[in-house]
């Protein structure tokens, strides 16, 4: 069940700044906000996380240390928000889900992907899957 997804200009810029700063490595971070039972998502903040992937692979891969993830979850709670999604960048690649992205996708979370070509951000796409057995579906797209 996918409702309306709202990414404000401010949030979008914050993600793009992070992606451009980390280029040519992938950046990653989490999205704080509120989701209502109809699937509508309101993003209030984008919080950068450390890309825990080995340096050699960081241009094509990202991962967030599970314990850092837990700290980020607690951080959301303190602001009375929820961790509702993840963002990451695809340097020199389109903003589509890779196999690895899809296989590791946590159900119910919003995944925003921003493509970065030569340090310039291009598309921003959002994906989500509802349950572990489902296929991921595109739920947001901004050129």
């Amino acid at each position: 069940m996918i409702g309306r997804i709202e990414v404000t200009e401010e949030i979008r810029r914050k993600i793009e700044r992070h992606a451009a700063a980390q280029y040519p490595a992938e950046c990653c971070g989490v999205l704080y906000g509120k989701a209502d039972p109809d699937g509508n998502v309101q993003i209030r903040d984008a919080v950068a996380a450390e890309n825990a992937s080995a340096e050699k692979r960081a241009s094509v891969h990202y991962s967030i240390d599970p314990l850092e993830w837990y700290r980020l979850e607690c951080g959301a709670q303190k602001q009375d928000l929820e961790l509702i999604g993840i963002y990451h960048s695809h340097p020199e690649h389109p903003a589509i889900l890779s196999h690895e992205d899809e296989d590791g996708m946590l159900p119910g979370l919003l995944y925003l992907i921003v493509s970065v070509y030569k340090g310039q951000c291009a598309e921003l796409h959002g994906y989500r899957k509802e349950s572990p057995e489902d296929k991921a579906a595109e739920c947001y797209r901004k050129q």
Binding site: L67, W69, P91, E92, L97, S98, D101, G104, Y117
Partner: protein, 485 residues
């Protein structure tokens, strides 16, 4: 034991963030957890009962996700955390390094020649340089090799090695569009080399006019970035697969039969290999290779073009790949599908405890479990010459042709009774146990199977195999026929 549940996994735990669960080990805690929260089973485990790849279990600060740690005592641990590992990656990564790409220069002619590639944002100059830097081995310059070699050359792959032992025959021209009628009787690699040189003189072509075997497989592919398997038999496919796994070189696999084809990318980024996909090949002789079975002319063009496309995508580092997946195309019914293939951790060559550590020649018959058992009576046979002289001498005997109708249509065996293997046991009354019975097929393998089938069905008469089958018989002339068989 206090169990902290990540907010992202809460939906499987009645939206609770914390639980108090009994147990002295991780295994016990997990078991009790799934009893308390039945939904958790679906969230934590996949359909095979394995922990889902993104689940991480921590005992305080220590990662205890590995099953080996699940039975350790939790004494002194204050809490268990169930957390997700959030990870992902860009769609793909090129198999050609940036360093090698940077060594390549494109001149004005290249810009003109590869204009259509340069116009594509995903390829552009960087991708074209990677293509030029790439070194690819194509094994087999036949039906699949034809489109693969031509498209790789046209796309600008810098170094192409072509391996084939065969010569061009007239029968090859129906599907092997690399060769022309002027190339008949020339080595296929020589013909292929000419065609590549005609496309682009800047390409380095290495023609290897040899049969791939266990001894040369590893050295033939050494130092190359990618192997494209365009062979038409199981033995070569397994040798190529093993050599690629042991050398760490990705492999683009293709196969065709009649109207259907398959494509996959093997041994790429920890993906499965051929032995994960098909643990054992079909019994020898039971499934005709395409040399026997026939294929519609454009099929090899379709499947080979897919192989070339997959090869280029791996080289450029774009798009989705067929690693861990097999594309099946049915050109008669116009259906295609992609099937997922899992890596087998018990795989003898790419699994966690490999038993194959160098490219070994293997006995295909034994490999398929079809080799005659010790106590089984060996099958006696005639050479084509022996059979011909017996026929010429007018010896009384029964000849049974076990080939399929389409094979018999190509070359008829005079005086033979046609009985497909599947009907032999039921039709054994048509044989005279007082007379010698000779079984023939295309290569002399299915006929052995036929003899063993009849023995098992209780037939007691003398039975002989035509060694080498019709293929070996084709150069034998019968005096009474005054012509070629």
């Amino acid at each position: 034991m206090k169990v902290i549940i990540s907010a992202t996994l809460k939906s499987f735990f009645r939206r609770e963030a914390e639980a108090e669960i009994g147990g002295n080990t991780v295994a016990e805690v997990l078991k009790n957890l799934t009893v308390e929260y039945p939904d958790a089973k679906r969230g934590l485990y996949d359909e095979n009962g394995k922990l889902r790849g993104f689940i991480r279990i921590f005992a305080d600060e220590e990662d205890v996700t590995d099953e080996a740690k699940h039975n350790e005592s939790l004494a002194g641990v204050s809490r268990i955390l169930l957390l997700p590992l959030v990870a992902g990656g860009a769609p793909t990564e090129s198999i050609i390094s940036d360093e090698r790409r940077k060594e390549i220069e494109l001149d004005d002619k290249d810009i003109e020649r590869f204009n259509k590639h340069l116009l594509l944002r995903e390829i552009s100059v960087k991708g074209q340089k990677r293509i030029r830097a790439a070194k690819v081995v194509v094994i087999g310059a036949g039906a699949l090799g034809s489109p693969v070699i031509q498209y790789l050359a046209a796309a600008g792959v810098g170094t192409i090695k072509i391996v084939d032992f065969d010569e061009v025959t007239l029968g090859n021209l129906q599907s092997q569009v690399l060769h022309t009628s002027r190339d008949v009787k020339r080595p296929k690699v020589a013909s292929a080399k000419d065609k590549v040189r005609n496309i682009d003189r800047n390409i380095e072509v290495i023609a290897e006019n040899v049969r791939l075997d266990a001894d040369n497989a590893a050295s033939l592919i050494e130092g190359f970035d990618l192997v494209v398997d365009c062979t038409d038999n199981y033995k070569s496919r397994y040798l190529i697969n093993d050599a690629c796994v042991l050398s760490g070189i990705p492999l683009v696999f293709g196969a065709i039969y009649q109207y259907e084809g398959e494509v996959s990318v093997l041994n790429y980024q920890d993906g499965p290999c051929l032995r994960c996909l098909f643990p054992a090949p079909p019994a020898p002789g039971l499934v005709p290779t395409c040399a026997e079975g026939g294929t519609i002319s454009p099929l090899s063009g379709i499947i080979g073009s897919y192989q070339a496309n997959e090869a280029l995508k791996l080289i450029i580092g774009i798009g989705e790949h067929l690693n861990g997946r097999l594309l099946r195309v049915d050109t008669l019914g116009l259906q295609s599908s992609v099937v997922k293939i899992k890596k087998n951790c018990d795989c003898p060559v790419c699994g966690s405890k490999p038993t194959i550590t160098e490219v070994e020649d293997f006995d295909y018959e034994e490999f398929c479990g079809l080799k005659a058992e010790e106590d089984e009576i060996p099958v006696e046979g005639f050479t084509p010459e022996e059979l011909a002289s017996r026929i010429d001498a007018g010896d009384a005997m029964t000849i049974i042709d076990v080939r399929e109708p389409h094979e018999r249509a190509i070359k008829h065996f005079p005086g033979a009774i046609a009985i497909p293997i599947g009907q032999l046991a039921r039709r054994q009354k048509e044989l005279n146990p007082e007379l010698d019975t000779v079984f023939i097929c295309k290569e002399g393998k299915r006929s052995i199977l036929a003899i063993n089938t009849l023995r098992e069905a209780g037939y007691k008469g003398p039975m002989y195999n035509l060694k080498g089958g019709m293929d070996a018989m084709k150069d034998i002339m019968f005096s009474n026929e005054a012509g070629w068989l």
